[in-house]
């Protein structure tokens, strides 16, 4: 039991790295995809929709294996396990994130857009000062679920040689054969990490609340 916990905790650090990196990639790709979809230009809308449907319609594990095993056969380089994991999990999360962002932005009442145009704000100021602040309370709860899903998906990284909790637990399983302890502890560590993440997202939710009353 004694050396299981530190090994798994070392893996937890890597899990955190992978999840954090994936969340950053997802934020960027989701923002780009939403901007493309809401631009009103068909030439931008179509690639964004293809990206979203592609990554939402296939399994994260297949995407990961494809990038790790199949892509090097087409491209002249082979990505490191960490890079592949962060890129794939990030793009996967970004596809779901784009739809969350889009739904929330479209849910802001149209009158807000009218008022912002009437007051002659530029489109950028309209989005960042008027629309997005009102969309944020609608974004954070589903985003919290998405981030926890991404934490769980990070477990797949261990299957492509990233030294995360999964990877360490596989090694421990082979060397100690104490299956129940190893995988039980792994589950508990993931659970604690998820609770911390959920708590942080609830805190964020509180930061962006404003009195709504009757929606005007």
């Amino acid at each position: 039991m004694l050396h299981i916990v530190p090994t798994l905790l070392r893996g937890a650090l890597v899990t955190g790295e992978v999840t954090g990196g994936a969340i950053i990639v997802a934020s960027v790709s989701a923002s780009c995809a939403v901007a493309m979809r809401l631009s009103g230009l068909a030439a931008l809308d179509w690639p964004a929709r293809v990206y979203i449907e592609l990554f939402r319609g296939t399994s994260a594990l297949i995407q990961l294996f494809w990038v790790f095993y199949a892509l090097p056969l087409i491209l002249p380089f082979r990505p490191t396990p960490m890079a592949a994991a962060i890129a794939v999990l990030g793009l996967n999360g970004g596809a779901y994130g784009a739809e969350i962002l889009r739904g929330a932005i479209l849910a802001v009442p149209k009158g807000q857009q009218d008022a912002a145009i009437a007051l002659n704000f530029t489109p950028i100021v309209r989005m960042f000062r008027i629309i997005l602040p009102q969309a944020l309370p609608l974004i954070i709860p589903p985003l919290a679920n998405l981030f926890i899903d991404m934490l769980k998906n990070s477990a797949l990284a261990g299957l492509v040689q990233v030294s995360d909790i999964t990877f360490q637990s596989q090694i421990l399983q082979e060397s100690t054969l104490r299956n129940a302890e190893v995988y039980g502890l792994a589950l508990i560590i993931y659970f604690i990490m998820a609770l911390i993440l959920a708590g942080f997202m609830r805190f964020l939710e509180g930061c962006f609340k404003f009195p709504i009353g009757a929606r005007v």
Partner: protein, 259 residues
Amino acid sequence: MNMDTSIQFINISKSYGGNMVLNGLNMTIAPKEHVVIIGPSGSGKSTILRLLMTLEKPDSGEILIEGENVWHCMRRDQKLHADPAHIRHMRSKVGMVFQHFNLFPHLRVLQNITEAPVRVLAVPRAEANRRAKELLDRVGLADKYNAWPAELSGGQKQRVAIARALALQPHIMLFDEITSALDPEIASQVLNLVLDLARQTDMTMLFVTHQMRFAQQIADRVVFFDQGTIVEQGTASQVLESPTQPRTREFLSNVRMAS
């Protein structure tokens, strides 16, 4: 810049999804004129205001504000689409107050009013705050500057909305059924405020409203609009008391029945 006319609609057509809302509309409004547009729902009245506020683009025709074309520029006899900077320049002359107020719920009252002057006119924030408090005082809400919009009543929200539109000092003010969402008692408070504004400023004002008594008090001209065209127009007493067109008479009698 031609100051003989404030607003000109020349052959404006607009349809929404196969439904022709405006068909070859021609209308000229003089500076400082107060025009009230009345008519049944769906007749295209609000569309006129929305086109003027550049919330919508006409399918065909020209809109001129103070003699300048809004959507097109003439360059060596060629009519080109105006660039965004020009449209924003034209838009800055117009202000609008909406039926459902459209206050920004995530900003306090003072910030609702100062946000545009600060970000659009680059007014320093301290100066913008000072002017905003003056405007709030003018609409009778000086003590509400730190409140959230959700804490205000409907009438208070509309008065803040008026102050917010005035903060950009437009030449033309548009009022789109501003009391339709308010209780009658509150509505008259807001309308009295607007009457004061009309007397104290030089702004051209355009109203869409169902309040006939208000129309009589404020209008230099009343326009009866139905199915996308002007049916009849004239002074308030001409149109409201002795209309010549049967459709006008029918509409007015229905309105009187309802109130």
